[in-house]
């Protein structure tokens, strides 16, 4: 599965989709879910929480390990994906559909400055060496 070219990415393996209203939707990448394996628990941030870029704000736990999810940019959480409470495995089956939380970014420019698909792939490749 390749990384969709319409998304932005972080080196810490989050994907970011910019919606028509300027809010962003955040999940973890195919590469991240593959590293973690079978997902069994997701703890997402609550709406209204203010986040700084790179702040730990969610936790995804597989059978194997727990991993932090980081805020891709500064802003305010506006929603969490309640479906993941009962079906965390959706992250494995559909990583780019199973979003974890939505944010209203403080600055649209911060989102534009994130990695594109090729830049993210380069970051993953360099991690492997």
């Amino acid at each position: 599965m390749s990384n969709p070219s319409n998304l932005k990415y972080t080196a810490s393996h989050e994907w970011v989709k910019t919606e028509a209203d300027g809010t962003i939707t955040v999940g973890i990448t195919q590469h991240a879910q593959e590293l973690l394996g079978d997902m069994v628990f997701v703890e997402a941030p609550t709406a209204g929480r203010k986040l700084k870029a790179k702040e730990e704000c969610a936790v995804v736990e597989s059978v194997k390990a727990a991993a932090d999810v980081y805020a891709p940019v500064s802003g305010e959480v506006i929603a969490a994906n309640a479906d993941l409470d009962s079906s965390p495995e959706n992250i494995n089956s559909d990583p780019y559909g199973a979003w974890i939380f939505k944010m209203k970014p403080d600055n649209a420019a911060d989102v534009a400055a994130l990695l594109d698909a090729a830049g993210y792939q380069a970051a993953v490749d360099s991690e492997a060496h």
């Binding site: 079978d38 069994v40 628990f41 736990e61 059978v63 727990a66 494995n92």
Partner: protein, 362 residues
């Protein structure tokens, strides 16, 4: 970078799509896809595990039983039926656990011992050192020429007989925890999953063909990820996690394997008698949402303990753990586990959590 050790099945794992990890210096398969699916596969049907990294040791010579009676915390005299196996801890004089192992009584001149991979070298060194003093005529041989595959699950034995029909007559009547020496194949009704099945020891050069033949017969390969959740559900200790040289067997849920009542002396006995345990190993069931992990602190009415092994139980669909807690903590007690910045509610439960295809916790 150090080079990882490989088993004779390394190429087969890669060909079967395994995700490989560094497991104590060995390049081993953690899963071949979904470790939860692999877990259910073993509980409901059968699967096979590469356990070639574990070490087979043969102790041979006159007086081998007497030597093991002194070397091990469990009593070798308990096994008199040929092929019968016994689980035991091997202790330092101070009572610390050097390793946990299985011994098979074959003849009064031959016991076979299977030890953990990470401890094999120190185990053999310790055995030889003790033998030098107490049984200089024994030979203790590391069987580096042997490979081992575990086939586990309700259908495991039938699949092994399908692949190795010549072993069926000798192994059909095996009790649980009993082995038969079938020439090139040493077949033991033992395992580390809480399911029925065999562990088969065979010449290294034959193991790859055996692995593929089992696969062709419908036995799925299972990685170390599922091996860990299966053994945790079955309430079986993992050396290095649930016990090590800093704790004794009585603090590690192994009192049932330590014979302190008979007159028999064994290495570590005096220390165990002199130091009654202040803690014990219990099972935990997480009541809140989340996942218990090793080293999380467990807050009880009697003091603070620590999780030694924690994970998600695919059978119970809840998180479970083994934890070392103050000795007066009781089954049914409510405890709190520190998970990141939260305190989560858990209940002390009797383990095993699941065996023979079924959950055992309400």
């Amino acid at each position: 970078m150090t080079t990882l050790k490989v088993t004779p099945l390394n190429a087969a794992h890669r060909a079967m799509g395994a995700k490989m990890v560094d497991f104590g210096g060995w390049d081993m398969p953690v899963n071949y896809g979904s470790q939860i699916d692999e877990h259910h596969q073993v509980r409901n049907d059968c699967g096979m595990f590469d356990v070639c990294h574990m070490r087979v040791v043969d102790a041979k010579g006159e007086g081998v039983r007497a030597f093991l009676r002194y070397l091990l915390a469990n009593n070798a005299d308990k096994i008199t039926l040929p092929g019968k196996a016994l689980y035991s801890a091997m202790l330092r004089p101070n009572g610390g656990v050097i390793d946990d192992l299985i011994i098979y009584f074959m003849t009064e001149q031959w016991f076979r011992i299977v030890v953990n991979a990470g401890t094999a070298d120190k185990d053999i060194a310790w055995m030889k050192e003790q033998a030098q003093t107490h049984a200089p005529n024994l030979t203790i041989t590391s069987r580096d020429d042997l490979a081992m595959v575990a086939i586990q699950g309700p259908n495991a034995r039938a699949k092994v007989w399908q692949v190795l029909p010549t072993t069926q007559a000798a192994t059909e009547g095996l009790q649980n925890f009993q082995a038969a020496d079938c020439g090139e194949y040493f077949v033991a009704r033992t395992g580390y999953t809480g399911e029925d099945g065999f562990e088969v020891m065979l010449p290294k050069e034959k193991v790859e063909a055996f692995w593929y033949a089992l696969n062709k017969a419908g036995v799925a390969p299972i990685g170390l990820g599922a091996r860990d959740t299966l053994r945790l559900e079955a309430g079986m200790n993992l050396y290095g996690q649930d016990m090590d040289e800093t704790v004794g067997p009585l603090e590690s849920g192994l009192a049932w394997t330590v014979d302190l009542k008979s007159e028999r002396d064994f290495i570590g006995k005096a220390a165990l008698l002199a130091n009654p345990p202040s803690s014990k190993l219990v099972g935990l069931l997480l009541l809140d949402r989340g996942v218990l992990r090793g080293h999380q602190k467990v807050h009880t009415a009697q003091g603070v303990g620590e999780i030694t092994s924690g994970s998600f139980s695919p059978t119970l669909e809840k998180s479970i753990a083994l934890a070392r807690v103050p000795k007066d903590v009781q089954i049914g007690d409510s405890v709190q586990v520190a998970v990141r910045d939260k305190m989560l509610a858990a209940k002390v439960v009797k383990y095993p959590f699941a065996r023979n295809g079924k959950g055992l916790i309400d």
